[in-house]
Amino acid sequence: MIYRETGNFVTNYLKDREIFPLKFDKIIVILGLLILYLYVPTMSEYALSAHIVPILAVGLATVGLNILTGLTGQLSLGTAGFMCVGAFGTYNLMLRVPENFMSLPVALLISGIFAGLVGVIFGLPAIRIKGFYLLVSTLAAQYFVWWFFNSYAWFLNYESSGVVAIAPKMYDYWGLGNLLGVDMQGYPSRYLLALTICLGLTYFAKNLLRSNTGRNFMSVRDRDIAASVMGISVPRTKLLAFFVSCFYCGVAGGIYSFLYIGNVDLMIYEIDRSFTILFMLIIGGLGSISGSWLGAIFVYEFPIVFTWIGDYLFQGAFNTAVVENVSNMVYGVFIIALLIREPGGFAALWGTTKQKLRMWPYPH
């Protein structure tokens, strides 16, 4: 009996709040961190660039959307728009602010703040508008942001093709690469930056969820009149949710453009990107941070795995159109099936599995 949940007695309230109360879990986490920081950077460039870094980006965006839609109940289809603000913000900060004052990690975080502020502006209507009607606000954000960056070529540094490739020197923050003799543009270092940001922000989100702010978010989601009667300021809570959520999405957008694709390109941030993130959220489970990551991995990897199956088992029978269509069908079926059987998504499935394992071999 290595993994024991019993015999774990909590002696004070702070211990009761821990994210990983079991000692075994703590060990797993430490091991996991060691693997993530020491082993993974040595993996192939393909693994890092085509799988791990993009998942970090979209997973972070899913966590962001989770804060807004899963925790606070404010439906949003503008995720890609906020990611776009982050990407463009990072690019322009790196481009225009003198080198000594700006570097990539800082730019990512500041552009996240820009995205957060944009989110607050489009979140203002949420004070008056409720329910499905609120979709109009985030949709307006999505289309407006896209149009805005498309119309004012200044943001793309007047690049006529509409796509800017990110200059190599933008990756070298504070000359660190030169100092350590490391290629900062290489995928291992990109990965490490993305990983650190994602881990940090996920930890932050998890804490938020369990804190007074998180409870405020959820109370606004569940019964906002009761919330206000208890002294919670519903408008302030909603706007905070928009800010934090869009901050996450903005940073995710920056990571996506800078650390994954290497381009700033409007086509990445169209409305179907918003939908994809929404699928990740629903499949992973609303309200669960770990669920968001599970959902992101599933939705991102499925087309890749499916193509791979086609290539290896059916001699490349699946072309891109087929892969896309089948993926959409699968996402649709999963969403519906999960809603019917396990509305909490993959996260809840995992919880149910654990419960079954606890009871095993008894059925219940």
Partner: protein
């Protein structure tokens, strides 16, 4: 004893329907005041007016010495009003502990940044407020269900949790909307004990809407009777029960 709450000439209208017509009554500090009356008499609406959820067209509510036409529900909470709802307004997505913790939100001063980083003030506040919440949990005897999602609880227990959520805010005045609705005899006895103890031990003024006459007679100090939006009785329980108008209203004599 001073009047902590004074309702003066309140009239509340929804379109053409007058929910409350020219009602006035006073609540003394520290008393248990029961608001009774047949269904549709305007009792919940009255509570909603006091609490700021509804805005009356005419009249003032004087609370704690300050007279107002209307109050923002949030300001009411800050001023020390706490309440429960007729149809249980618990947060279905959270556990019992989390629900009751939300009742402490006015005591939590740390910023979201501190809470996200789980440092300093945020940690301390979680500890301190958890202590306050645990006291109430112990008082209401719901320790065993503290980690249960409220959606899974039976009705009677949910009502108890809701009382806990209101209590934990350390209010000056507790507004309870049918706290015993749907309970059996045993649950009602428990609930009455809790309400009495809260009132006697902590001196919290309680205004409660209640249908069970036995409970009303047993635990309230002051009874206000409403019918069709008007006040038809106001006094001690004995006085009110002897009032012919009240008897008529309950027996359904047309008027």
């Amino acid at each position: 004893m001073t009047d902590i709450l004074k309702v003066e000439n309140v009239t509340l209208q929804f379109g053409g329907v007058k929910a409350i017509t020219d009602i006035s009554f006073n609540v003394k500090e520290g008393e248990i005041c029961a608001v009774i009356g047949p269904n549709g008499a305007g009792k919940s609406s009255m509570l909603n007016v006091i609490n700021g959820v509804y805005l009356p067209q005419i009249g003032t509510v004087t609370y704690d010495g300050v007279a107002r036409r209307s109050i923002n529900p949030r300001d009411a909470a800050i001023a020390g009003m706490a309440r429960t709802f007729q149809n249980i307004a618990l947060f279905q997505g959270m556990t019992v502990l989390e629900n009751i913790m939300t009742g402490r939100n006015l005591f939590m001063k740390s910023t979201w940044l501190e809470q996200g980083l789980n440092i300093g003030r945020a940690r301390e506040e979680e500890k301190i407020n958890r202590l306050a919440v645990e006291k109430v949990i112990k008082f209401l005897q719901i320790e065993s269900i503290r980690k249960t999602p409220v959606a899974k609880l039976p009705y009677g227990l949910q009502k108890r949790v809701e009382l806990g959520r209101a209590l934990v805010a350390e209010p000056k005045i507790l507004l309870l909307d049918e706290p015993m609705a749907g309970m059996n005899l045993e649950e009602k006895a428990d609930m009455s004990c809790f309400i009495l103890e809260i009132n006697k031990e902590q001196g919290i003024t309680t205004v409660m809407i209640e249908h069970d006459m036995g409970v009303v007679m047993d635990i309230s100090d002051h009874v206000v009777v409403l019918d069709y939006g008007k006040k038809i009785g106001d006094g001690s329980p004995k006085e009110v029960m002897a009032n012919q108008d009240v008897i008529d209203a309950y027996l359904g004599v047309s008027h």
